[in-house]
C-alpha cells in the first residue's frame, strides 16, 4: 500500500509545495519515518500483535502453563477448547453460560442506563444560565477519574450488610438485602412476588450453553445489581463529557431557528438536538458495549465471581481459568469468544444505526417542502412565543458564557 492511497486530502498539495525533489529527501524522510515509528512498532507489535497470535495458538493447544507454550510437548487440539466451552455441556459450558448470562444482563442494564443518564446530565449542565455549572460537572465527572479498584472498595463498604445503603434503607423502614452475598436473581424475585416460584416444565428442561432457560431468566443477581449501579456511577461522567462536547458543537442558530418556529423545549430536544447527537450516541453506545463486555477489575477486587457464581463474567472466567486453574487453552478460548462478541456487536450496532439514519432523512426530505415551519411546530398549537423559554433552557439571544 503506497502512502498516497491513505494520505489525507491535503497531502498532495503540501507535497507539491515542498521544495525538495522526490529523490534524496524522500529517502531521508522514509528512513526517519521508520525510525520514528520504531519504538511504537516494537512495543505494540511485541505486546499486542504477537500476543494475539500466541494466544490463538494456545487456545487451540493443550498447554497447561508449564514451560513454553511453543515447546514440542504441547500439542495441537484444534477447536476442542472451543467445543467444550460452547457445546460440551459439562462444567466448563455451564460456567461459561453462567458468565454469559451475568454479563448479558450487565450489558443490557448498564449500556442504556449510562447512556441516558449521561445525556441527561449533559443537557442539565449545558445550560448557559446555570449557576455552579463547574461544580456540577466536576461532581459528576469525578468518579470517572478515580481508579476502579478504589471505587470498588468504596462500593463494598457502601453495600455491605451493615453499610451505608442498608443503614439509609433502614431509616426508611426497608430492610435491605445482604447485597454482595445475595445470589438471587432480580427477575426471579419479581416472578416470585407474582407467585411464580418454580420453573415451568418447558423452561426447566430446555437450555442454552449448559444452563436451563429458567436460569437465563434469573436476571442479574442482587450482588450483580450493586455492580451495575457501580458501573453507571463511574461511567456516566465520562460519557457526559462526550455529550457535552457534542452539545456545544451544535450551532445556536439551529436552536434559534427551532425557537422561532415555536418548538417547545421538549420538541427542540426531541427533533433538533437528539438527531444532531446521533453520532455521539453511536460512540457512547459502542464504547459502552466494548467496556461492559470486559468487566474485570470490579470482579477481581470485589466479589471474585461469588455469590454462587452470579457475578462471574467471561473476562474474569478467562483470567481464573488460565491463571488459577491452569486451563490456559480454555482461558484463551474464552477470550477469543469474547473478542468475537464485541466485534459482532459493534458491527451490528453500526449497521442498525446506519439503517435508522437514512429513514428519517428521507422523511424529512419529503415533508419539509409541504409545510416548512409547521413540521417543527407540530403539536405545539400555541403561539410561537409561548414555548420559547420553556423549562428554563437558555434562550439563544443570551451571550455565550462558556
Amino acid at each position: 500500500m503506497s502512502a498516497a492511497v491513505t494520505s489525507p486530502a491535503s497531502a498532495p498539495v503540501r507535497r507539491r509545495r515542498r521544495p525538495h525533489g522526490p529523490g534524496s529527501a524522500r529517502g531521508r524522510a522514509a528512513a526517519s519515518g521508520w525510525l520514528f515509528l520504531a519504538p511504537m512498532l516494537v512495543i505494540l507489535g511485541l505486546f499486542l500483535v504477537v500476543p494475539v497470535l500466541m494466544a490463538l495458538w494456545v487456545s487451540m493447544s493443550d498447554w497447561t502453563g508449564r514451560g513454553s507454550p511453543l515447546s514440542s510437548d504441547v500439542s495441537f487440539v484444534g477447536v476442542e477448547n472451543y467445543r467444550s466451552l460452547l457445546l460440551g455441556g459439562g462444567l466448563a459450558t455451564q460456567d461459561f453460560g453462567t458468565a454469559m448470562r451475568n454479563n448479558a444482563y450487565y450489558v443490557l442494564l448498564v449500556v442504556p442506563l449510562q447512556t441516558a443518564l449521561a445525556l441527561f446530565l449533559a443537557t442539565m449542565v449545558n445550560r448557559r444560565a446555570l449557576r455552579g455549572r463547574g461544580f456540577f460537572r466536576t461532581a459528576f465527572y469525578f468518579p470517572s477519574v478515580t481508579s476502579s479498584v478504589a471505587i470498588t472498595v468504596l462500593w463494598l463498604f457502601l453495600f455491605s450488610a451493615s453499610g451505608t445503603i442498608n443503614a439509609i434503607l433502614a431509616r426508611l423502614s426497608i430492610s435491605g438485602p445482604n447485597w454482595f452475598n445475595d445470589p438471587r436473581g432480580v427477575l426471579h424475585l419479581l416472578l416470585g412476588a407474582a407467585g411464580l416460584d418454580t420453573a415451568p416444565e418447558s423452561l426447566a428442561q430446555h437450555g442454552f450453553l449448559g444452563i436451563p432457560l429458567w436460569e437465563w431468566l434469573a436476571g442479574p443477581s442482587v450482588a450483580m445489581s450493586a455492580l451495575i449501579l457501580l458501573a453507571i456511577f463511574t461511567t456516566s461522567g465520562t460519557f457526559m463529557l462526550l455529550f457535552l462536547a457534542a452539545l456545544q458543537a451544535i450551532s445556536s442558530e439551529v436552536e434559534e431557528a427551532a425557537v422561532m418556529d415555536g418548538a417547545t423545549a421538549w420538541q427542540r430536544f426531541r427533533r433538533v438536538t437528539l438527531p444532531m447527537l446521533r453520532p455521539t450516541v453511536f460512540t457512547v453506545v459502542t464504547l459502552g458495549l466494548i467496556g461492559t463486555w470486559q468487566v474485570f477489575d470490579q470482579i477481581y477486587t470485589g466479589t471474585q465471581g461469588g455469590p454462587a457464581k452470579t457475578t462471574i463474567t467471561p473476562a474474569y472466567l478467562s483470567y481464573s481459568a488460565a491463571f488459577q486453574n491452569n486451563q490456559w487453552g480454555r482461558g484463551a478460548a474464552i477470550a477469543f469468544v469474547l473478542f468475537a462478541i464485541i466485534v459482532l456487536l459493534t458491527v451490528l450496532q453500526r449497521l442498525v444505526l446506519r439503517e435508522r439514519d437514512t429513514v428519517p432523512r428521507r422523511k424529512r426530505f419529503y415533508r419539509t417542502p409541504a409545510a416548512p415551519p409547521a413540521a417543527l411546530a407540530g403539536t405545539a398549537g400555541t403561539a410561537p412565543a409561548a414555548g420559547a423559554p420553556g423549562t428554563g433552557t437558555a434562550s439563544p439571544t443570551e451571550g455565550d458564557h462558556r
Partner: protein, 298 residues
C-alpha cells in the same frame, strides 16, 4: 453565568400579563432544575465524603454508624497501620515509579509516532496507520493471557520492565498526537528545515514545543491510565516487591491479606490512592473538562 443572563428574553411592551406568567413558570422550572441537580450532585459526592469520614472511624463505629459524615471518635489507626505496619508505602512507591516512567515514555514514543504518521511521507505509512486502527479494536481483557505469555517469553516477568514496557505505547495517544501535529502549519517546519535542521531536530525543538496542549492531554491520560491500571499488573508479575497500589489494595479488599472487614483500613487505602489523580484532576480540570476524548473506564 451571571444572574442577569438568567432573566427571560426581551420584554415586549403591551404584553405584561403573559410575561409575568412566563417568568413565574420560569422560576418554578429553574428551581426544579436546581433541585434535581443538587440531589444528583449529593448522590455523586456523598460516597467520597463517606469514604474519607469512615477512614477516620474505628472498626466498630464504621459498622454501627455507616451514614454519619463525622466520626464520633476520631481515629487515625487505619492510616498508622497503613503507613507504619504494612506494605502500603512500598506499593505507593512502585506505583509512582511505574506511572512516572510510563507517562514520560508514552509522551515521547507516542509523539514520535504521531509526528511520523502526520508529517513524514514514506511508503508503508498507510499500512502502519491501518494496523494501528485494527490494533485499537482489540479489547484489553482479551490480551490478559497473551500478554502474560509474551512477557514470560521475553524474560521480563517479575521485573519493573515487565510492568512498564508493555504500557509505553498506546494507539489512542498516538492518534491524539497525530491529530494535533496535523493542525500545525507545515511552513513552520520548512523554515527550520531550510536552516539545516534534521528531521529529529525539527521535531524535538520546533514542533514538539508547539504541541504543548496535546502533550499535557497525553500526560493527564497516561498518568491517570497507568496509575489506575490493574489487569496488566496482575499478569505481569507476582513478586511481592513489585505490587502496585491497585493490585495491593485489590488484594487487601478481597481479603487475601487480612481477616475481617476492616473497612476504615480499606477505605483509607482507597482514599490515599485517589489523591494523586484527584490532584491532577483539580489542577488540570479545565483541560480535562474540555477534552472530549477521555479514557473510558469500565
Amino acid at each position: 453565568m451571571s444572574a442577569t443572563t438568567a432573566l427571560p428574553a426581551p420584554a415586549r411592551p403591551g404584553a405584561p400579563a403573559p410575561r409575568a406568567r412566563r417568568s413565574n413558570r420560569r422560576v418554578v422550572a429553574t428551581s426544579f432544575t436546581y433541585a434535581v441537580l443538587v440531589v444528583l450532585a449529593v448522590l455523586y459526592v456523598y460516597p467520597f465524603l463517606i469514604q474519607v469520614a469512615t477512614s477516620f472511624k474505628t472498626d466498630a463505629e464504621a459498622a454501627q454508624n455507616a451514614v454519619s459524615l463525622i466520626p464520633q471518635t476520631w481515629s487515625t489507626a487505619a492510616y498508622e497501620r497503613l503507613f507504619l505496619r504494612s506494605d502500603f508505602p512500598l506499593w505507593f512507591r512502585n506505583s509512582v515509579i511505574v506511572t512516572v516512567v510510563v507517562t514520560l515514555g508514552r509522551v515521547f514514543i507516542n509523539s514520535l509516532a504521531g509526528y511520523a504518521l502526520a508529517r513524514l511521507r514514506f511508503r508503508g505509512r498507510g499500512l502502519v496507520f491501518a494496523g494501528l486502527v485494527a490494533v485499537m479494536a482489540v479489547p484489553n481483557v482479551v490480551l490478559l493471557i497473551p500478554k502474560f505469555l509474551v512477557i514470560k517469553q521475553v524474560g521480563i516477568y517479575n521485573s519493573f520492565a515487565g510492568l512498564i514496557v508493555p504500557l509505553l505505547a498506546d494507539a489512542a495517544g498516538i492518534f491524539i498526537m497525530k491529530n494535533f501535529f496535523e493542525s500545525i502549519p507545515p511552513s513552520v517546519e520548512e523554515a527550520a528545515r531550510l536552516d539545516g535542521a534534521g528531521t529529529f531536530r525539527v521535531f524535538w525543538s520546533v514542533v514538539l514545543p508547539m504541541a504543548r496542549p496535546a502533550v499535557v492531554t497525553l500526560v493527564i491520560l497516561s498518568f491517570q491510565g497507568s496509575w489506575n491500571e490493574l489487569s496488566h499488573f496482575i499478569v505481569a508479575s507476582q513478586d511481592p516487591d513489585l505490587v502496585t497500589l491497585t493490585k495491593g489494595v485489590a488484594q487487601l479488599a478481597s481479603g487475601q491479606l487480612s481477616q475481617g472487614t476492616q473497612y476504615p483500613l480499606k477505605l483509607a487505602a482507597a482514599a490515599i490512592m485517589t489523591v494523586p489523580v484527584a490532584v491532577l484532576f483539580f489542577v488540570f480540570q479545565k483541560r480535562i473538562m474540555n477534552q472530549s476524548a477521555g479514557a473510558v473506564k469500565e
